[in-house]
């Protein structure tokens, strides 16, 4: 719920390599990106290019090899807790009811379970999970599970939410449905979102800005502003302007993949 000017997220010259017994692998060579408050900024790139690594660094799960991450304008050494993170799979805890999964960040931060439930109940009702609040996660469909996982992500009203391929595991119809839902929820909550995806249509439909990454090690290949008006409805996907943007993004992605098939391509690990 950040308001005002400035940046909610700023990533400058981020690089990340991993060292193991097998040697050093560079996952991210240089990534710069930023998000203004209330914006949705997407990282898109070929599969395995290091998009998730960028988010793991921003979330504080990994430390960068070089570069800087500013959240809400300041560099925080320990970024755990500075943003809310939604992993690729929904990671709902099977032993907590749906509402108790959503309250998890509040409870971990010290809220009493009852107070946390009172706080998120309106959120669940407002965004289509009211009837499922008392259900166990296994009783929910894939789409409903992802809704719960997203509401858990925004429950503590984070300044920044990081969604790592949030709908990757879902079928096409459910995914389109959830994109629409996410768009509506975000319009209402005003959460700043960083999104990782490899789905061109998803990127165009949801984003304000799309950052195109090359294949591993990731570098920024291009930045695309998505100037489609909001709110965006499912029918907007049929518009010529939407199709144009999709085509341009697909073209940029192709170029980004080609760009990396240069001298270093042979060293890239298969993925």
């Amino acid at each position: 719920m950040s308001t005002g000017t400035g940046t909610a997220l700023e990533v400058v010259g981020l690089a990340k390599s991993f060292t193991s017994d097998q040697g050093t692998v560079q996952a991210v060579r240089r990534v710069d990106m930023s998000a203004r408050p209330g914006e949705l900024v997407t990282l898109i790139g070929p599969s395995g290019c290091g998009k998730s690594t960028v988010f793991n660094v921003v979330a504080g799960l990994e430390q960068p090899s070089a570069g800087e991450v500013r959240i809400g304008g300041s560099v925080v050494a320990d970024r755990l807790g500075a943003s809310a993170y939604m992993p690729q799979r929904d990671a709902l805890l099977p032993w907590r009811r749906v509402i108790d999964n959503v309250t998890l960040p509040l409870v971990l931060a010290g809220s009493s379970p009852a107070a946390a439930r009172r706080q998120v109940e309106p959120l669940l009702r407002r965004f289509g999970l009211g009837d499922f609040a008392r259900a166990w996660p296994w009783q929910l469909s894939g789409g409903m599970r992802h809704r719960a996982a997203f509401l858990r992500t925004v429950a503590a009203e984070p300044g920044l939410a990081l969604l790592d391929e949030p709908f990757g595991a879902l079928d096409g119809i459910t995914r389109a449905d959830l994109q629409q839902w996410l768009s509506a929820v975000r319009a209402e909550l005003g959460t700043t979102v960083g999104l990782v995806t490899h789905d061109v249509a998803e990127a165009v439909f949801l984003s304000d800005v799309v950052v195109v990454l090359t294949a591993r090690p990731a570098e920024v290949a291009a930045v695309l502003e998505v100037d489609l008006p909001r709110p965006r409805e499912a029918e907007d996907r049929e518009r010529a302007s939407f199709g144009d943007l999709e085509r341009r993004l697909r073209h940029l992605l192709r170029e980004a993949s080609w760009a990396s098939v240069g001298p270093g391509a042979a060293e890239r690990p298969p993925d």
């Binding site: 793991n56 504080g60 992993p87 990671a91």
Partner: protein
């Protein structure tokens, strides 16, 4: 052993039978059991076997019932030893598993010793325990615990390690402490495997208590069987009766643990197999 193996795979004892309603699940083994008992009775009648060598099932049931005033306290004593031993095993195994999961040092220093402890023949320890601690129930409880803590430790360690990485990372991004990670994610993840280990241990508990009683005790099923087998004339029928009572008690304890498992994990979908 058969029970132990099939339980590792899940709740269903026979693959594919788990989801069927009760009668269809229990009927086949019941019929086999009845046929076997019938055959047993037939053999003793046809060949006229001596009741001190092979008493028929009818005689076993009748004389065991007649001797219930002696058998019941023996069964009670051994049950206390078995259950208390299992409880002690859980009380030791769970903190041990958590510390092994928690610290590299404990994993490197303790886990190999836990595994090595299983190579010590616990039966051979029984006389030592009697020498040191006497004939009471306490030493038996200790021996049962020694016998049964290993599967629980292994189950718990594996269960704790099996926690979903995504969930662990997610909680880390919520600034969860180590204790919160343990309590909110790792421990609930470990419960199914803990119970699998406990169920394997249950099948050992009565046996190890009885073995400990053979060596030296004043009460219990081991004493009862010993006395029956050394009586003049031999009361082989009562040995069979005590064996049957042990089997029934083990099954009952096993079902009780199954019930506790379901109560401890209400979140699991029903009729999982």
């Amino acid at each position: 052993m058969k029970a132990g193996l099939s339980l590792v795979a899940g709740e269903s004892v026979v693959p594919g039978v788990g989801r069927r309603p009760g009668a269809r699940r229990w009927l086949p083994p019941a019929l086999v059991l009845i046929a076997a008992v019938g055959l047993w009775q037939l053999v003793t009648v046809v060949f006229g076997t001596s009741p001190t060598i092979l008493p028929g099932p009818a005689l076993v049931v009748v004389s065991t019932w007649a001797d219930r005033a002696d058998l019941a306290p023996a069964l009670a004593t051994t049950t206390v030893e078995a259950v208390a031993g299992l409880a002690l095993a859980v009380a030791v195994a769970v903190p041990l598993a958590i510390s092994i999961d928690w610290s590299r040092t404990a994993r490197a220093g303790v886990y190999p010793l836990v595994v090595a402890s299983q190579t010590v023949p616990v039966i051979a320890l029984a006389p030592l325990v009697v020498i040191w601690f006497g004939f009471g129930e306490g030493p038996k409880i200790g021996l049962v615990a020694l016998f049964s803590f290993f599967p629980i430790v292994v189950g718990a360690v594996q269960g704790l390690a099996s926690a979903d990485r995504d969930a662990v990372d997610l909680l880390r991004t919520m600034r969860a402490s180590r204790w919160q990670l343990l309590w909110r994610v790792r421990w609930p993840s470990a419960l199914p495997q803990c119970f699998t280990g406990l169920k394997i241990s249950v099948t050992y508990a009565y046996t190890s208590a009885i073995v400990a009683e053979y060596v030296g005790a004043t009460q219990g099923l081991g004493v009862y069987m010993n006395a029956a087998s050394q009586a003049a004339p031999r009361r082989t029928d009562l040995v069979f009766g005590a064996t049957g009572a042990t089997a029934l008690a083990t099954v009952a304890l096993f079902l009780l643990v199954g019930l506790a498992e379901r109560l401890a994990m209400p979140w699991r979908p029903p009729s999982r197999s």
